[in-house]
Symmetry: C2
Subunit: 220 residues, 2 copies
Amino acid sequence: MTGYPHGMARQELTERAPGTERIQRKRGKRVKEIVETAAELFGEHGYDAVSLDDVAERLDVTKGSLYYYFPSKEELATAAIETLGDEWTARLERLAEQHEGGHAGLLRTLLHEHITIAVRDYPAALRLFLVPRAWPTAQADRIKELRGRHDAVFRRVIEAGVDAGEFTVTGVDTTLQCMHAAMAQSPLWCARLRGKARGNAISELTETLMMLVGQPPRTG
Amino acid sequence: MTGYPHGMARQELTERAPGTERIQRKRGKRVKEIVETAAELFGEHGYDAVSLDDVAERLDVTKGSLYYYFPSKEELATAAIETLGDEWTARLERLAEQHEGGHAGLLRTLLHEHITIAVRDYPAALRLFLVPRAWPTAQADRIKELRGRHDAVFRRVIEAGVDAGEFTVTGVDTTLQCMHAAMAQSPLWCARLRGKARGNAISELTETLMMLVGQPPRTG
DNA sequence: ACAAAATTTGACCCTGGAGTCAATAGATGA
DNA sequence: TCATCTATTGACTCCAGGGTCAAATTTTGT
């Protein structure tokens, strides 16, 4: 009757950490496994179409076990979006910091990286993150915040490029929305492709999106 | 114990039409009402999130009544997509035929019209039609066919424009996909806007998408 | 080796929603 | 007005799937 149901219990967790560090790490690892599997499935088939039994089955456990870590299906989905969304937002932010060179170069890098992550690592999860209303409405706020951070990375480059006279856009927001919409779908288009064909598709999409800021496509 | 359950019974319907013409028209009208209401709801909340009770309620009838016209929820959803998809595909095809002038002009018209229909008339249904996997998988084929026709309208203009040296694209398919992705989301972005603001948003989106074929945005 | 803590199980409850159907109400035409 | 066809109802079945929980199993620290 002990155990720490529903994993987090966030406040207490920081005050007097239950279990040893080793156990905590182990737990964290398990949570991550669950979250990634869930994201995979939710993104692929949609929130409603995936049952917790499905998630459990893919993990070779039972539904009940999931409830040891998450209090509800909604929380699980939200955790999935938050965790993964945070991960690659951070990655893009890092790229943006490190980069030196023109704005076009940076934007191209960001787009390419973003699409690559989406297609290669999280073919499904990205859609969850980017497509409004794909997740349970109750959680919309927590996700919106994250989405804002994500947007900001792209917004900064675009605005900088426009100010520098390098880019031409009709409206920054609209441009952003178009980019997101396209990237959110990209996993579907590239799902079947492998190896070189996939790489080409990603590059082609990147170049196409660069045109949204008035950058003529590169030859090659 | 008679009646013509599940409406169509397609073969027989053409051979020996049941009921008088007047009754048939009336029936068709009812079917259309149902289909439009269903499309509205499905598109807005997603297939799974909408129950037939929801659809019935909005129509001020009972679920059982829907089953008099459609054999299943899936069939209803498919009918919704087919009917509406066919309608506006036809409208775009007509526009393309009538048009005289440059390719850029035609593409701009098509985009603008398409987004306008989406936002004004069927804020929701369009997403059903354009976003892969938003509908029950069993029906995917029937919808894909329709989607093909729809794509063709845009593909023709783009290819013509490229051949004429008016447009620059990295790849026609990729360009098409980006356009569709953006248009599919447009109702979400413009949902809250009304009147002039909405018109502006639509125009801005149109101009932004024109950039995908290398057309600099118009001022104004 | 053993007790306490951490994890997993599987059987169980309960609700929402798809689909059915006999009975009823409403149209229509003779 | 009556008989027949059309349309609608509402009560019903059935089940997938979210969520619960006591008991069993595994892991951990001593």
